[in-house]
Symmetry: D2
Subunit: 339 residues, 4 copies
């Protein structure tokens, strides 16, 4: 990088876009936000003023074309990722893109080819890798402290279902929600996933059935090294956001509990009572959003490969599509069947 | 019962036989042990003297034939269960039998028919139902405090593999070890299991492969009410006996941690350190062996059906055979396929 | 000992007497109970029959005089300890005595002299030393794993106040309840206590005030090695029996949580809920009663000094009397002031 | 306030000054920092540039005199608090001051009089009241969920002693370190403290003795409502910053554990291992620094009394002086003796 600070253009200032802008402006010293593309004008102006963003537009191409933009952050809807990434790569901009890259393997491969050809860096926002809990689990497993990994258990349950409108366009449970767990499964065990077996149900709300989706699922993964993983998902855990993993191996085990707003323990005649888990991803994963962005910026500054690549983005989607196929056909599906 | 105390004949005084004798003699006031059958003479005499058992024999038929024996406890090898139960039923003795009843569905059905015809009571020793932790989980789920159950997770890992000789005659992981988890799955969710999907590996010791067995497994169960369960097993958890369950439902979740010998927390420069789980079943399930026997005796005294029946014994074996078939054929297996 | 088993005479078969009889008869293989003295005839006969105790009497002297009694267990009221011990020592019987030995320093010194002169062994029943939690804390501190001890914190709160009648004859909070904590303070830090500072209040029930007693207290202890301890007591913790210690030193810290009947964790919309502590000493200290008796028997079999001596019995009472004096005079009291 | 944002002048940009500037600039939307006084020129310029602070000076009077400064934040050494506060009050500026206000009761009273006379608001930075753990404990006790408070236990141990130079000018353990606990004791129990009893030792490092100070202490507090509190302090807990409280009352108890960087649990053959507490106040109390400043700003915006007043600042110092006197004289000291 020529500049002393990485100059970012952000595309999309919805909920997650705001998180990235806040981190880039206020919490990371090596970055600044020089441009914002947002289709909703009032929102665009409000954010620009709040964060002193000099240039704004309703059209992302304007931002991508700006000569003082080093890298872009894509927080727009999934179906816009493909054209935006191709355009940004062609303009020589580095790219940080929200998950999933796309729902089509073919398009993701095109994305990866384009990025490679353009010589720009692409990082996919699997933020959970930067959650302090999961980061620590990864550190311990990577250091060999549990020996060879044999079993991984991932629990991932949302506090409440999204609105019906969101459900209809989400891509389905496996590609919208489990996709994070698929990446986690790849992050925590360093061996290729070879097979996916999935079961799903509608137990939470019939609205999922109407949308051709499921709300409760169990997935079993097979790894090349013999390890196995289970994932369990629900769209509604009434007690809050339930995000845990456990890795068991030949020399030990590591697991994590949920995060809570405080550590109080209250005892009365009825029992011992403690705090519920943090309610949802904005509270639970606050630090992970900062961490992933810092890692991206570091890869730009040091000219190294981003820690979560387009290949990682491809694999997670491939696993989601394999889970869909498994659910439909009632049998385990080899990952190589999905291409 | 005519007698004020239930008079027991015990068949087999190996490790688990001794546990039952200790409980019947010293910890339960409504019972006495009046006869012991044990093929090893020195062992038989030692135990008889220690517990003041008046009558002993190397032949179980002598014990079964004794007129002052109200009920027998069968702790002999699995392949002896079938003939002993038939003989005991024919003699009008009530029967408490270690798991599994047998490895053949046909023979178990014969057992259940014989017992029914004879009008005697049969209880199968799925002791874990009487572990205080699992008992509490059952109590909470049964009371509706988690609403409708959606997901069950069972972790069951032994501290170390059994000797090779044991492995060769164990009936295989699913019928020797997972069978307890199959019963737990039926105990904790009150709906018939309809399908079993199993994956297995040899990751702990090649000796399992030589024996045609596996040492690490993941099982997925489907219930008629839509709930799903996962079971994960390993023959070797170096940190001790890992026995946990978690039931998640529409209104909450309940889980348990492992039991430890003490509750100490030690902090030094290196970290915070606490006690490992109790090492194995003799320590962990001490109270459950007492509890199951008390429940059996209560069913005799009150002339009610034992809480764990021959039908429960049948179902667990059926699930084990389904898991074997699933493992072999690489597909989910309906329970009705096993008959 | 000539006999292969230690032959015990038990004096007093109230609540704690029954615990010792049960352990001596059913849980310890090196002992038998050959005689029981109990003033209430119906109680005496019931217990004798239940445990097959051959000889009983309403008069303890008869029991002490029995030639086949090797050792006596004293579970009668505190004011009877002094004469019984003197009589037993004179008869050459070993003695296991419930706490406190007496409330008078002078009489305790006489007891210790008599026992020494008679060459018999005396153990005082500070059972908590054999609780698995506190035993572990002791093991860790003794092994030097926390370095030099600096601070000890003892929390000891009963679930509910005793009956008024008991309060009136209890000897007061410090000699009835805190006495266990005084012994714990001596057990966990291996240095003489030199000073006691006590504050007390009536916050639970005015009945304590009427009895000239207190129900809530804080005590500060000073040790010769510079360490300090705090003790906090209440006669009523509505959430159950609260029994915890924490030792902090130059190289670390060790603490314990309370024991619970099970390890369940239940989560619903309202919070995370776990089990209350075990309700009172009969449940919490079950294993410690067994442990102390085994230790006493071991000292008899190996002819070594009992692990809790008459000197230990003396010191705990001395601390209690110092606490009383401190409370009355509103100042720290040196232990040497109490003689 | 006329301005839409509170305009702050900060005096002192050392470690804690930087924390406040960061919060005022980046994390609180209702504030801006318009001036900085810092005697070290390079430091002053660095901070001013980083946070875009328009006006800086080496002399705090210049900042106080600025017409566009609404409120000042005092982060300079303790002995400067008195003159700066008097000057700021005279200039009509609101004041947020680090603890302690001063070490002299007389000067603190003058401060409080001056502030009152000038009609400006003064808040003392007892940040721990805004720690999420202690805040929750306060919330629970205030809501009456533990009934009448009977016992409070505060543990407050630093990870490592400060440098010798700091020790020499710290004012001593009770006024430098325990002062936070004195305020906590007042925050958690809503009744005046009437008496202080203190014991202290040099167990960590002889350097404290050389400085006429102690490094380990136990304090007992008496409240007007009959409640009692214990505080234990150490200058060195090798396992990290140990900050816990426990409030016990007639209807229950509430306590907190320490905060950790993550929630991992690692099990191997040696034990179960979890993360150490966060190392020191900059990590542990991050959120509390934000919380206290937000509370101060809210009191300015709503023209209400700040939640931690000059009276609170006075009482904590009074308790520290009482503890010093108690330590010196070996007896409990009434708070009214200190004036």
């Amino acid at each position: 990088m020529d500049s002393s600070k990485i100059r970012f253009g952000v595309i999309g200032s919805g909920r997650i876009g705001k998180v990235h802008i806040e981190n880039l402006v206020n919490r990371i010293s090596d970055s600044e936000v020089v441009a914002l593309a947002e289709v909703v004008q009032t929102e665009r102006e409000k954010i620009a003023q709040l964060y002193h963003i000099p240039k704004t537009s309703g059209n992302h191409s304007e931002i991508i074309g700006q000569s003082d933009v080093d890298a872009i952050v894509i927080c727009s809807p999934t179906d816009t990722h493909y054209p935006i990434i191709l355009e940004a790569a062609a303009s020589g901009k580095h790219i940080f893109c929200e998950k999933p890259l796309d729902l089509s393997i073919k398009k993701i491969k095109e994305i990866n080819d384009a990025v490679k050809k353009a010589g720009v860096k692409l990082m996919v926002a699997f933020n959970r890798r930067y959650d302090p809990n999961f980061f620590k689990v990864h550190e311990i497993t990577k250091a060999g402290k549990i020996g060879d990994p044999h079993l991984l258990r991932i629990t991932s349950r949302d506090p409440a279902p999204p609105p019906e409108e969101y459900i209809r366009s989400s891509g389905g449970l496996f590609l919208d929600m489990t996709i994070h767990d698929f990446d986690m499964a790849r992050y925590l065990i360093d061996s290729p996933v070879t097979e996916v077996y999935a079961q799903g149900r509608v137990l939470v709300d019939p609205v999922f059935e109407k949308a051709g989706d499921i709300d409760t699922a169990v997935v079993v993964l097979s790894y090349e090294n013999g390890a196995m993983a289970t994932i369990d998902n629900s769209r509604e855990a009434v007690y809050g956001y339930d995000q845990r993993v456990e890795v068991f191996g030949s020399e030990g085990m590591v697991t994590v509990t949920n995060n809570t707003p405080d550590n109080h323990i209250y005892l009365n005649r009825d029992g011992v009572h403690t705090a519920l888990p943090l309610n949802f991803f904005m509270e639970r994963y606050t630090e992970s959003y900062l961490g992933e962005m810092q890692a991206f910026i570091q890869s730009l500054l040091e000219d190294t490969e981003p820690p979560v690549t387009g290949e990682d983005g491809l694999k997670a989607v491939q696993m989601g599509l394999a889970a869909n196929k498994s659910l439909k056909e009632g049998r385990p599906v080899k990952l190589e069947e999905i291409s």
